[in-house]
């Protein structure tokens, strides 16, 4: 009796111990898995903390000081912000220039990209070549392209005005006429619309053919199909494009810096974009405190517009199956 009892107890013990060991093993495996996960994403975490979060918070502090690299940092409260809104008229000029650019370039390039994608989604011979050609300008960027456009937009001997003259149009002075400097940059932007086109093309090809066939049976024409099937089906991509190109539009700087004399803002400051004004304050005048407060105002403006976009998106973006992205 006793021996049986001991045996039973032993069995229970072994079972219990094994269970505990298993539990322990699973736990340690899971811990190792977690550790591996954190190790894998560690580079991004370091980058996020050191290159984004840290600098962002530091610049928030700097924006309340008069820091100019050589001086010590003195806390000046809201002085920078007060100066920006009440005394610096170039701040308002640059903000207006940037809003003008964003307001026109975003819708124009979005519509252009959709139209081009629809054209390039037709079945005609040589389509592969057309797609390559139309996409090409999107990979060309940087100073070389800005120089090219300065040449193209040259008032007397440039290609743009030469082409306009064939149609009897007397082209404007583009980069020399304050009224036309920003449209000139939008025209240049429109040239590389192929980048956005590719996104739309990919999503157009994802629209099920049966939908069009069903609509045709119901007697829908091309335009009806476009507005009632194509556009609703690609709204997620339109939304993505608008959100990102709005943020991108606010980044405009290089074009204006290269295409004007040393980034002086062009004729009557018509190309003095927000970032250019910020750049001049930070790296020409070394008013780091003031420039930091400008950066934060930009950040807040862009965030508000993006939030607005995201809120508005819920109203018009169609997600297949009804679930949110």
């Amino acid at each position: 009796m006793e021996s049986v009892f001991v045996k039973k107890k032993d069995k229970v013990n072994v079972k219990y111990r094994q269970k505990a060991e298993n539990k322990h093993l699973i736990k340690s495996l899971r811990r190792r898995e977690e550790l591996a996960g954190y190790l894998f994403i560690a580079p991004w975490i370091i980058g996020f903390v050191c290159l984004m979060l840290g600098p962002l918070l530091f610049s928030l502090y700097v924006s309340f000081t008069n820091y100019n690299i050589t001086s010590s940092m003195e806390f000046t409260g809201f002085d920078n912000y007060k100066r920006m809104f009440t005394m610096d008229h170039l701040f308002w000029t640059s903000l207006w220039n940037t809003l003008y650019y964003v307001l026109f370039s975003v819708p124009v390039t979005t519509a252009g990209a959709i139209l081009l994608a629809v054209l390039l989604n037709q079945r005609v011979p040589g389509m592969k070549w057309y797609r390559t050609l139309y996409y090409l300008p999107a990979v060309l960027s940087g100073v070389a392209v800005y120089l090219l456009w300065m040449q193209l937009l040259s008032p007397s001997t440039g290609l743009v005005n030469t082409a306009l003259s064939w149609f009897g149009i007397d082209g404007p002075a583009w980069l020399y006429d304050p009224e036309w400097t920003k449209p000139a940059l939008i025209l240049m932007k429109l040239w590389s619309v192929g980048g956005g086109m590719l996104l739309y093309l990919a999503s157009l090809q994802g629209v099920p053919k049966t939908m069009y066939e069903a609509a045709e049976i119901d007697g829908a024409g091309s335009l009806q199909k476009f507005f009632h099937i194509t556009i609703p089906m690609i709204t997620p991509v339109i939304f993505f494009d608008i959100v990102t190109s709005l943020i991108g539009g606010f980044q405009i700087f290089q074009e204006a810096y290269v295409m004007t004399e040393n980034g002086d803002g062009g004729p009557v400051n018509s190309l003095l974009f927000y970032n250019l004004h910020m750049w001049n304050n930070a790296f020409e005048l070394f008013n780091m405190g003031y420039a930091s407060s400008m950066a934060w105002v930009l950040f807040v403006v862009v965030m508000i517009l993006t939030m607005f976009n995201l809120k508005l998106g819920k109203k018009w973006v169609y997600y297949e199956g009804g679930d949110q992205k």
């Binding site: 898995e33 996960g37 894998f40 984004m52 060309l140 100073v143 090809q205 943020i247 930091s292 934060w296």
Partner: protein, 290 residues
Amino acid sequence: MNTSMKTTPRYQSRSFRTKIKKVLVSLILLAGSLVILSPVLWMVSTSLKTPGEIAQFPPSFLPDKFQWNNYIEAWNTAPFTRWALNTLFITVCVVIGSVLVNSLVAYGFAKIRFRGKNILFVIVLSTMLIPGFVLLIPQYMLFSKIGWVNTYLPLIVPAFLGNAFFIFLLRQFFMTLPNEMIEAAKIDGANHFQIWWKIAMPLMKPAIITIAIFSFNGAWNDFLGPLLYINDENLYTLQIGLQTFKGTVQTQWHYLMAASVLVLLPVVLIFFFFQKYFIEGANITSGTKG
């Protein structure tokens, strides 16, 4: 009987209409490609003209005589060879960093379970919404504090710390890897690092090449970074060099255009050779795959 007689002419007229539509689309595309291509042709043509011919009115389309010497003279007027080598060095470093680090991070987000993963990934995505210019000034203050100004470190090191867009793209790719494959490798005793390097990376070659091309273009065309951090002319990149060159040769457009063609050439070549990878990238961003 009656219906078939009715449908035949309707069918014919319809195929006739699609034919007309095809011709129309072809014509529009042809005209459009001329418009799209003309700036590039203009650039090449201008680069082969004499200054006198460029100033002439009305402008000529093809150069009278092809001035191939413009290219050699433009290249030798400034230390372009040096700048090209500098740019190549930075670009190679950035490409290596982007490919390795972003795929590592993306694998972590796609295939490893750990606490807080979803929140962290949302943070990754939301950093894409921060306008880069906002970070420019504080990052400059950081890099100047640690003495990195006038070195390539501010241009290269960030590439080794992940890029939200690339992480997002690669994660979409890695998600398509079957979990059973990873479990099987684990049972064979492989750890995640080995699985990433020996199984995931080789299978993800198209995605890796896409990232390599995107980061190559980004680094090759980067203007802001070098403009901000590089002061020594010997350390210039092609972009900054070209901007300086614009100041030295003023309005000598034959030189400016020749140099521009040469700077753009590598990007154009890569584009023509690796076209399908650009399309791959667009497919993933638009969500039609992955």
